[in-house]
Symmetry: C2
Subunit: 169 residues, 2 copies
């Protein structure tokens, strides 16, 4: 799939067939995550791959927008190391870039995915920290739910001239 | 260019020929930015396109890592509307996803680009707010410098098994 096509056809997919993605495809998606840039090349991102059914079910008890996770069969919690990147704003941006790369890679593989926010919602980050036993210096920034899609969505033009400014506001 | 190839070959480019990118290519890059997902679909991102030579030069007086901006000839300041998305962490993540899409689109077009961080460094965000006359509710999150590349960089494998965890830390 061409890169612009991949960017323009990526949509949030929340219905899945139940078939878990292969290890090979998972690795391709993780490779895309690692390829994202990071501020001052501090590379603060870690990836917690979730496949255990009990873990997937537990997440739905505290994350109101992750109900589709067990049916997808796979989640990737993207975490930032606050010691590798001390500026929280940069750390969050680095993790977000990695997440976007993974969503695009999934789309390129013909898979569906959706980004469920975590940071800065304390209820969600605390729930994740406890469940996954994350160290103190590790912040869960976002959850990528990925699987075989069970819905069709076309591309969606969100181009908005009113949000483009020239040389000043 | 294939989407995975585009993701894996994207590198930070800081040397440019001086030829400014065409309007058509700029629009393609902006279209990629708009296509990024946003938390709860709040779409908080605005894009300030910089081409004015005086503006480009002024930015180099307060941003130590944007010295290449005048030679590139074009910058895009990605801003978040704090009223559209009140949670700063989500707003920053949304802008970062738009930035990553634009870096990938530039790579797909054969152009070079580099992401210069702004938020949360007060010196940089204040400098940009004053120069671009940004409203109080608008935060400049990052600057994309884009132009015709004058350096060759191969892909760079940053895959790191030690940063992959399974079901818990």
């Amino acid at each position: 799939m061409d890169i612009m096509e991949g960017i323009l056809t990526r949509r949030s997919i929340r219905r899945f067939t139940g078939e878990v993605i292969s290890q090979e495809r998972l690795e391709t998606i993780l490779r895309a995550g690692f390829a994202a840039p990071s501020a001052h090349n501090s590379r603060p991102c870690h990836f917690v791959v979730l496949k255990d059914k009990t873990t997937l079910e537990k997440i739905t008890t505290f994350h109101p927008y992750a109900k589709m996770l067990p049916q997808a069969g796979c989640g990737i919690v993207v975490c930032g190391n606050n010691e590798a990147q001390k500026l929280e704003g940069f750390m969050v941006a680095d993790c977000a870039a990695a997440i976007e790369n993974m969503l695009l890679a999934a789309n390129g593989l013909g898979l569906g995915s959706v980004w469920c926010g975590l940071h800065p919602v304390a209820e969600l980050t605390e729930g994740m920290k406890e469940l996954l036993n994350l160290p103190e210096n590790i912040t869960p920034v976002g959850l990528v739910v990925v699987g075989h899609t069970d819905e069709k969505k076309g591309s969606w033009n969100r181009y908005d001239e009113e949000k483009i400014h020239h040389d000043k506001w």
